[in-house]
Amino acid sequence: MKRSTSTTALATVAFFALTTLSTGGPGVYAESKISTIGSAKVFHIGGPFELIDHSGRAVTDEFYRGKYLLISFGYTSCPDICPTTLLEISMTLDRLGVDARKIQPLFITLDPERDSPQVLAEYVANFHPQISGLTGTADQVAAAAKAFRAYYRKTVLTDGDYVLDHSTITFLMAPDGRYLTHFAFGTPPEIMARRIKNRF
């Protein structure tokens, strides 16, 4: 697996070598997750998924029932956003103290081609020990992303490497699987922790 060694290197490659654009990922949002409450049309967030965790175990959304889920999407070669997101999640868990045990943070890769369970295991080891990395087949990952309206698109570089443009939201799901709230990238850990605690 190729990894970028620095943001500058990746940015330089992207800017000067980019001549080809191809798309990957679903690009179409699930149409079935819509309901109507009164006169408002509600677009649901979240849903069933079947993936593999970084220990190689097959898991589903049902597997995590009883825990609050803190879900982010990304990929291990992501130079800035993803490691920062996981760092902020780690700091949030630290701030929550014993309450952190109620939470299962999940990092779902959008790059199953490169992010095998072993690669994910090495990656998440850099962050809070509670964080679990999930991968799967391309279809499984696409289905999970679609359920959370997580957008991603592959941009192929001329040297054959590629980067992913992807959404940067972190989702908080209730122990019964319902969507509770979400956090934009860069939400300070103290704010994230406070908002999570308010949901307990």
């Binding site: 800017f15 949002y29 049309k41 957008y151 860069g186 704010i191």
Partner: protein, 414 residues
Amino acid sequence: MLGRAGPTTAVAVRVGTMAGFLLAVIHPVAALDDVRRYVFVPDRATSEVAIIDTESDELETALRLDQIPNQLLLPTDASTSRPLGFLLASNTVDDSIAVVDLETLAMVRRIELGDDPDRMEIDRDGEIVAASSVEAGKVFLVSLRHGRVLRTVSGLHGPDTMVFGPDGKLLYVGNLGSAEVSVIDVASGQVVGEIPIGPTDRRPASGRIGAYTAGDRMGIVDPGTQRLISGVVNLSRTSFGSRGFASHAASDTLTVIDLRTQEKVKTLVLGDVPFRTYATADSLQLISLNNGDGTISVVSMRTLEEVARIRGARDMTGVNTGWFETTAVIPSRAENKALVVDLTEPGVIAEIPLPSSPETGVTTPDGTKVYIALSKTAQVAVIDVSKQRLVKVIDGVGKEPWGLYMAGAIAYCH
């Protein structure tokens, strides 16, 4: 509360020296207690910019400038979406750009241009600002690092809206007075290309660019400025930066441009007078406000085909998408309401009456709320996008609030 009480010496360094300013530009600072949670609201009648806290939906404070700004910019780092710690305000009284430090809310620099700055755009590195002057026919390329104009590009035909190419080396300029997008090399300040827009199967009878005949209108009159616009009424781009969209109101067309190669990809015929066209933050769809017939065109970015043309309203002012890009909120100045459009199955699913005429709006970075300025009543409307309803009206916002700005308003890594 806004801001944090930093050491006096640290503030003095940042304000007083070139090195301090460079530091503020190069190293993004966390200022104003997370700048991204505030909405900045400029005004037509006062030089104070109201600042609203989106957590409380209350007026927090005001930024006091020395003149009424024409436009604000809140630059963010292109890779991380983090605010760069300063705000830019363009001024038509003294033809300048003011640079305001967001930690101190004090102006740290004024950059003189020499002509009215009508529009500003900043490159993805936060280093170069392009300022267009429609009447003067000029574009100024300004270095924030050096605090001065580096290059002046003259001889353009009413340069107005602009977009930088994805690598920042080229600047694309929409000309109000000609059906062409000018391509400028940023380093040299030279015009290196002209991209004709509009219908390719027709040519102006007189040979003059923009002078369409045989049933085509000559142009449209901008109600705000009373200018006759025969050329590019709007130029915008995808958030990922690879495609640009030039609207030609005189022929009801939209030209899609590959910003990496300067090539035209396609020309679409949309509704009557496609006045404003914007891509969703995920670049999956394009939404065009056709103010000539009050319709809204939804274009698939994957197929570059119009997938829906739906009933809109009169005098639609802008498009604000949110809630994971499932929903668009579109204010109608003539009908005192906001339309809520379902982008998954394109159609208007709600109409929200507003207390008075809406101007433009802005979506919060997490996509949950849209704020809309109500200039006639000095208010700001707060719309919950997921619930598709008005949840609050904030009173006492300046005298004639017209625009709203927030830093880091999209939630995508690219």
